[in-house]
Amino acid sequence: MVPPDNDSSMVSILYVEDELDAREILSSMISRKYPNTHLYLAENGAKGLEAFEKHRPDIVITDISMPLMDGLRMSSEIKKLNPDTIIVAITAYSDTSYLLNTIETDINHYVLKPLDYRKFFSILDKSIAMIQL
């Protein structure tokens, strides 16, 4: 079910999530799905920004509501540093209403919680393809 994708060897991904269980499960799934990517993890917006500055990943997957710095602020900082970064937000339904404005500008894609792997991976596939173009 998890086809290794050799084309993504150049791609690096940063996954920011404060919830430990979700972070562990989803990170293991991403690693399995995209074995040739570099996956970096961070537990909040501030740490995420730090990791971005260090590793300059191509794709950033982030939760929205997090302590210290939320996903939106982090995204806007990241876009300032590198506007080409593809940002995928994982968001709860209730967040969307006030997300809509920022989604236009800073966030490239969003997936709703509870997360559906098929949708999520299709977005990731697209994003990786964009980068590898």
Binding site: M1, E19, D21, A22, I25, K113, L115, D116, Y117
Partner: protein, 702 residues
């Protein structure tokens, strides 16, 4: 020549002494001359010296005669004694009487005889220089008169120390002696007076104080003579001196002894005399008398007052009687008038209930004439059925008991309309105790009835209004409940979002792994465990919320800190989402008797309020702190935020119902109103709010 007659006794004695000295001075031939002298006759051809002596002797003799001095000349060797006439007179002897020493001794007062004899014997001894001075009494040898004499003399001695001559003078001092004793006697008046007498000089110093005064001082154990001097003596002295007063009276109290003092000025001696009299007994008597007089006066007064009041009441009685008499004359007309035109109805019923008397007022109400009613109608003829029933019950009671009060009855007017009346009646009996007739009053209570009806309508109105209010309250409570439920739903959504997401991840992982080597029993079991853990967590969350929504049926004792923790667990996710942190600080673990779920609802309302306060004005680190402590017996929980506080113009309104600053879809404005109600009405505590500077602080005291 000197005028010896005007000389004092002392001056004379001095003159005599001087003369004697001159006599003695010529010295050696004194003895020879003395022979001549004895004859008292001058020699025919005297020498110059003899002339001088003679002249002196003449002078002396004159002096002696003019001053009633007696002379004596005694020759101890021979015992011869020569006395002048005056000397003989002083011993009560005639001029021609013969005298010698024994006569002298015999003439002396027996009390003085021995002493004088000894003095003379002593004088005649040479070692005593021969000076003689003595004072003694004589008893006239012939006239038996007592006289006081003073004597001066000198004895002269020969070369062998033998007395040869003793000369001298005697002076009758009886009168001065008498005067002296008179003075002494007069002085004794003051001295021995039984009343204290004090004399003071013009500067206020005591110059005399008699024995009675000293006795008094001794009695009061004092030696201050000035105790007798009145304190205002200076003023008294001035007044007496200026003759504003001739005598002054003062009373002083010497330790219980009271003295009345007459103070006189004696201008002749420049002295003030105080004559004191012990008036203690008098004063006591006076006081007793005064008291008795006072009592007597009171008695008389009391009697007089009593008498006056008796007279007064008698007068009043007379006036009253006159007035009554006058009134009686006009009363029968007046009574009839009063009866007929009283503002209430009067009637009387005989034993059958027949109207025997009725006044004009009641007739007017009913619309009948007197002739139509009196003796023709029973009261029941004027009553509707409901009133007749009451009348039948109460009329026998009136006849038996004698009175009935405030019966609400209805009477029918001639035109058929009804008049509500209040009837009271008393029964009149004859001497045998048989009922004769009633005496009844009737009051028109139409107005009262109307008022009562109005009141009733108003009460119904009020009840309805209250019911409406209650309804409104119920709606409000319902709204608040809905609002709370909405909040809860929101909280549950937050609580569930993460575990739902994770659960999704776990479940979707299964097909993902299905055809890999990792998909085995172990993987399935661990996935199932993970999923169940999440499901159980979600289930617990629902239980928590269900618990919260249960209403407390009765008061229980609960731990405040526990309720705080429980409440926070419900709302923590939504706070986290808003990035508002919550901290708890408990000084102790206090318990409250009350409704824990309602208390939790209060905390929730306040916490939601705090969370909402951060929207729009988010500080760097949004924080809500909950602090629990005890202040005496009161459990105090404060919830403070750093969201900037509440505007001063609305802080007093935040507990008002329907007051809100939020958008209509976010707040109903009753959360805090309900919270205050719960704390202050259900739990008898207090809920307050204040601004701390960087935020608001709610304070719950239970």
């Amino acid at each position: 020549m000197m005028n010896y007659a005007t000389m004092t006794k002392a001056e004379l004695l001095r003159v005599i002494a001087a003369l004697q000295a001159e006599i003695k001075d010529p010295g050696t031939d004194t003895a020879a001359h003395s022979t001549d002298k004895r004859t008292d006759k001058p020699k025919k051809n005297p020498t110059k010296h003899e002339k001088t002596v003679y002249s002196h002797e003449e002078t002396l003799k004159l002096a002696i005669e003019s001053t009633c001095l007696g002379t004596f000349d005694f020759y101890p060797p021979t015992g011869e004694l020569v006395w002048s006439d005056e000397a003989k007179h002083q011993f009560g002897l005639p001029s021609d009487a013969a005298v010698d020493y024994s006569v002298f001794l015999a003439g002396l007062h027996p009390g003085d005889r021995k002493r004088i004899d000894q003095i003379i014997r002593k004088t005649l001894r040479p070692e005593n220089k021969g000076d003689y001075a003595a004072e003694f009494r004589t008893i006239g040898i012939q006239d038996g008169k007592e006289r006081w004499l003073t004597a001066r003399g000198r004895a002269s001695f020969n070369e062998y120390g033998r007395p040869v001559r003793f000369v001298g003078i005697t002076l009758d001092i009886t009168e001065s002696k008498q005067a002296e004793s008179e003075i002494e006697r007069l002085a004794s008046f003051a001295q021995l007076s039984p009343n204290p007498i004090i004399e003071i000089n013009s500067s206020g110093q005591i110059t005399f104080c008699n024995s009675a005064a000293l006795e008094v001082l001794k009695k009061i154990d004092s030696n201050d003579k000035y105790a007798f001097v009145p304190p205002d003596i200076k003023e008294i002295l001035t007044a007496l001196k200026n003759k504003q007063l001739s005598v002054c009276y003062r009373e002083i109290d010497l330790q219980g002894l009271i003295f009345g003092m007459h103070i006189h000025r004696v201008p002749h001696f420049q002295a003030i005399r105080i004559y004191a009299t012990d008036i203690t007994a008098y004063k006591h008597a006076e006081m007793g008398l005064k008291k008795a007089y006072g009592e007597c006066e009171l008695l008389v007064m009391a009697r007089t007052t009593k008498l006056a009041s008796v007279v007064h009441s008698l007068q009043k009685e007379i006036v009253e009687r006159k007035r009554v008499e006058a009134a009686l004359i006009s009363s029968s007309d007046e009574i009839q008038d009063l009866y007929d035109n009283a503002p209430c109805g009067y009637h009387s019923l005989d034993k059958n209930g027949l109207i025997v008397r009725i006044n004009a007022t009641e007739l007017k109400w009913l619309g009948f004439t007197k002739d139509e009613v009196v003796g023709k109608m029973k009261l029941t003829d004027l009553m509707p059925a409901s009133s007749i029933k009451i009348f039948m019950e109460t009329f026998p009671i009136l006849k038996r008991v004698g009175q009935v009060h405030d019966l609400e009855q209805k009477l029918i007017r001639k035109d058929g309309t009804i008049i509500p009346v209040s009837l009271s009646a008393t029964a009149i009996y004859d001497n045998d105790g048989n009922y004769v007739m009633s005496r009844s009053t009737a009051f028109d209570i139409s107005e009262r009835k109307e008022a009562e009806t109005a009141l009733q309508t108003e009460a119904v109105e009020r009840l309805r209004a209250m019911e409406q209010l209650r309804q409104k309250d119920r709606i409000m409570m319902h709204q608040s409940r809905l609002a709370a439920m909405g909040e809860m739903l929101n909280n549950i959504a937050h609580q569930w979002r993460q575990p739902l997401n994770t659960l999704g991840l776990v479940i979707q992982r299964l097909p993902f792994f299905y055809e890999t080597e990792e998909f085995n029993k172990e993987f399935l079991e661990s996935s199932a465990n993970e999923a169940m853990k999440l499901i159980q967590h979600m289930s617990r969350t629902i239980d928590d919320f269900r618990g919260f929504f249960k209403t407390d049926k009765e008061m229980i004792t609960f731990q405040v800190n526990h309720v705080i923790k429980q409440t926070i667990s419900l709302i923590e996710p939504s706070f986290k989402e808003e990035q508002v942190s919550i901290s708890i600080c408990s000084e102790c673990n206090p318990s409250i008797l009350g409704y824990p779920n309602e208390y939790s609802q209060v905390l929730l309302s306040i916490l939601h309020n705090a969370k909402d306060a951060f929207s729009g004005k988010k500080p760097k680190e949004a924080q809500v702190s909950i602090h629990s402590s005890m202040e005496g017996k009161i459990v105090v929980v404060t919830i403070s935020d750093n969201a900037g506080g509440i505007a001063e113009d609305i802080i007093e309104k935040i507990f008002d119902p329907y007051f809100t600053t939020k958008d209509p879809d976010k707040g109903t404005g009753i959360g805090l109103f309900i919270a205050k109600n719960i704390i202050e009405n259900s739990m008898k505590g207090r809920l307050m709010v204040r601004n701390t500077g960087d935020g608001a602080e709610f304070r719950i005291e239970v």
